[in-house]
Symmetry: C2
Subunit: 223 residues, 2 copies
């Protein structure tokens, strides 16, 4: 479903060049459940943003569903990002002026879903992540872990085929974190492909494959 | 150093009242190292914001260094917040247009520290949290865990007597998280009072006292 060959990502800071991803070779088959582990600053979010077509590599090939992403038009990229990929951001990226329910409805608005169905689906997903009582709260009226769960609900409400979650349990206590992982495992049993970045080895163990990243270099770990 | 009696915090959401802290009785002696554990949404950050004088309780007594906080003038409250308390926010609250170094210098500017000493102290603290190579990066040029460590450095640079850290290791891998806890333990050996909110039992064990919070009610755990 997804293949990366010799992916390099370099940032320019003033005059200095910093290479954050160094010849990453990585492929994902449909229906896999992968965890990406690695220290702070090692390149996990940078890799995830490229997988999710939110950022372009400096060089290398990235083939998604048989197409080289570099050759895709912006309209097609936007379609893939909205319809096929669900992205849980490390810092949630919720819209501050919208309620929890409105934040989760947003991707359904872009997908052209009618209002009645939209509200029902958004509410159902928020109940699934344990926030049935918080539909009207805006982000600054929610705790950190509640905001994170709104971000998870928003990523899942379009029933994406690929779910990319950047540290989805970072702000959650152990019990709530495991509930979210049970939800991801259920979605994976339905056939969805899941990639999770995490620092927590216990969370990583839910995956069928663990990939480690250190200083921009990837290595596979038998799982 | 700090005593709370029958602290209640209630939020008004439209017509509904929601009581988040229910008659919290809690005191902290100078030099203690306390961990606050509890599930997502249980009231930890709400309690911490009241301890740090960033928010007022709906009712109850809060005596800090012998003064009832309600009777303090805004100028005195601001002085306490700047000089005596170091606050690590759950979502970092870094200023997006300033570099890591400038973000850490900010509290020293408010404290009237001269430029040369300010830059030296800010740089030293960033080196201590492992970010010596990232002084010029702005927040959007830093990873999640790197931003968190800038927020930690900013809270510690004024050498506060009380350090309040809301989930300071949430975005960090285990090794980096333990390095930060070593830094907190060192500061505690110097006599500083430390209160940490965390979801991670391993991190909580660094404290000399563990307090659990569930649905707005506090209970002490023998540690
Ligand atoms: N826009 C940018 N400009 C310059 N450097 C950047 C930029 N974005 C990220 N970096 C650097 O790239 C490196 C990798 O960042 P990345 O966010 O991928 O790390 P990470 O593995 O997700 O870390 P964390 O676990 O802390 O979230 C970091 O050292 C960071 O400082
Ligand atoms: N401004 C507000 N208006 C209404 N409700 C609020 C407001 N701020 C917080 N709450 C509610 O108060 C409760 C406690 O929030 P708090 O942020 O203290 O939790 P927490 O224990 O820090 O959780 P987490 O571990 O997820 O960060 C939550 O249910 C939240 O929805
Ligand atoms: Mg990251
Ligand atoms: Mg909180």
């Amino acid at each position: 479903i997804l293949e990366m060959k010799d992916i390099v990502k370099t940032y320019l800071m003033g005059e200095e060049e910093q290479t954050v991803l160094k010849n990453v070779n990585f492929s994902i088959n449909e229906g896999e459940f992968i965890s990406i582990l690695g220290p702070s600053g090692s390149g996990k979010s940078t890799l995830m943003n490229i997988i999710g077509c939110l950022d372009m590599p400096t060089s290398g090939e990235y083939i998604l569903n048989g197409n080289e992403v570099k050759d895709l038009e912006e309209g097609e990229l936007a379609r893939i990002r909205n319809k096929e990929i669900g992205f849980v951001f490390q810092q949630f990226q919720l819209l501050p002026r919208l309620s929890a329910l409105q934040n989760v409805e947003l991707p359904l608005i872009y997908a052209g879903v009618k209002e009645k169905e939209r509200k029902e689906r958004a509410q159902e997903m928020l109940i699934r992540v344990g926030l049935g009582e918080k539909l009207k709260n805006r982000p600054n009226q929610l705790s950190g872990g509640q905001q994170q769960r709104v971000a998870i609900a928003r990523a899942l409400v379009t029933h994406p085929t690929i779910i990319l979650a950047d540290e989805p349990t970072g702000a959650l206590d152990q019990k709530t974190g495991y509930q979210i992982m049970d939800l991801f495992k259920e979605l994976n049993r339905e056939g969805r492909t899941i990639v999770i970045i995490t620092h927590d080895e216990n969370i990583a163990k839910n995956a069928t494959r663990i990939v480690k990243i250190l200083d921009g270099c990837l290595s596979e770990v038998a799982s």
